[in-house]
Symmetry: C2
Amino acid sequence: MSKNISTKDKILKASLQSFLTIGIDQTSLNLIAESIGIKKPSIYYHFKSKEEIITRCVDNLLDDLEHRIDLSLNTHTQPREQIEALYECIIDFHSGLSILVYDNSSQPVNLNSFFQRCMLEHPSIQKRIESYYHTLQVKLISILSSGQKQGAIKNSLNKEIVSIDLISRIEGMINLSALYSNAHINLQRQGLYETVWDSLKAEQQPKKKRILDYKSIDLGRKW
Amino acid sequence: MSKNISTKDKILKASLQSFLTIGIDQTSLNLIAESIGIKKPSIYYHFKSKEEIITRCVDNLLDDLEHRIDLSLNTHTQPREQIEALYECIIDFHSGLSILVYDNSSQPVNLNSFFQRCMLEHPSIQKRIESYYHTLQVKLISILSSGQKQGAIKNSLNKEIVSIDLISRIEGMINLSALYSNAHINLQRQGLYETVWDSLKAEQQPKKKRILDYKSIDLGRKW
DNA sequence: GTCTATACAAGGATAGAC
DNA sequence: GTCTATCCTTGTATAGAC
């Protein structure tokens, strides 16, 4: 059942794999076609242009990620848990992409460069990406707000600014791990989660360690 | 004097401008040539290939940035000052590139995507980028070490991990500002510097505000 | 739905005149 | 040092047969 995927989906999968590894511009339709055992013109039966493939890849990617984040946030109620769950969700998503693309999780995947390139393609893609970050920011602001009401999070912080900071911290980690061999998400995230929470928590909170029991991953892996 | 720049330098400048705005692959040698008023084959008198131009751009960029960081770090002795100076240096560098490329500083520039793309080009470029991050990490570890000796910085922290975190925080900020319109370096950095120092400082340190008197920048600017 | 054949444009790169 | 002319390759995309 799951083996019998449509040609259209095969094209999308192969495209995404190639886009994320060698980049959009180095990915020719010929390459995509060859990798799934068809000829180039067949692609045009399923998609009207390369741009349409790119658009569909971005949409699928972000729809999926947003959906997973929703599911994950709904299973937690405490602000610290929710923020860690959000981070884990984003990391897991990249880890999954890494496996999709390289068949193992030790090679890092960098979505930012892909998005950056996509934005040149068409204004609608730019809007979709902007909308993803906006959704993320809104979720974070809501977590921060309810955390403040519960007395778990500092009242003094600027939620607009802090929410952006929270996004940029996890993305910074992921990006750097794609550029610099000494940067490993898996080694960094424990410290990340602790310093993030230290900077958010209300002063009188008792210190707790490791709210989330996140999967332990062997250290050879980048994620 | 400064107006009479060589054709070789003109090519490099125009190339960098185009690489950083529309990307390496969208930048044809024809485009570069036209933008400085020469014909495409003339480029080949100065460079043997497009790849050589890319390599020179990356080298010049990173040599310049590393040099500025050295100069800036030498004018400070306190760990907090040094870390903020390093951050300011990186931000100023991007701001300068933004002006070079767009003639104003409100458009963000993202070096990471450029580097990411460059790394596909040639292993030597990858090594140069890796070397930049390594240099940065070594500098940060040295700052952290001397801060610990002075008693200004927590002894408990893992310098390898924290130095990576410090790099990824500033890069995360810069990257996000290129992808998401609500993210503005200029609005974020004050909070960044404070939470960074809060997470590093030894417990008994007296609280000081704003060690560095960084230039105030009007808020319409992205940097 | 997939193929062969082909149109058409654009890119990197070289030869050789001036 | 810069040009015109040209080569060769590769890319996106379409027409039309099977």
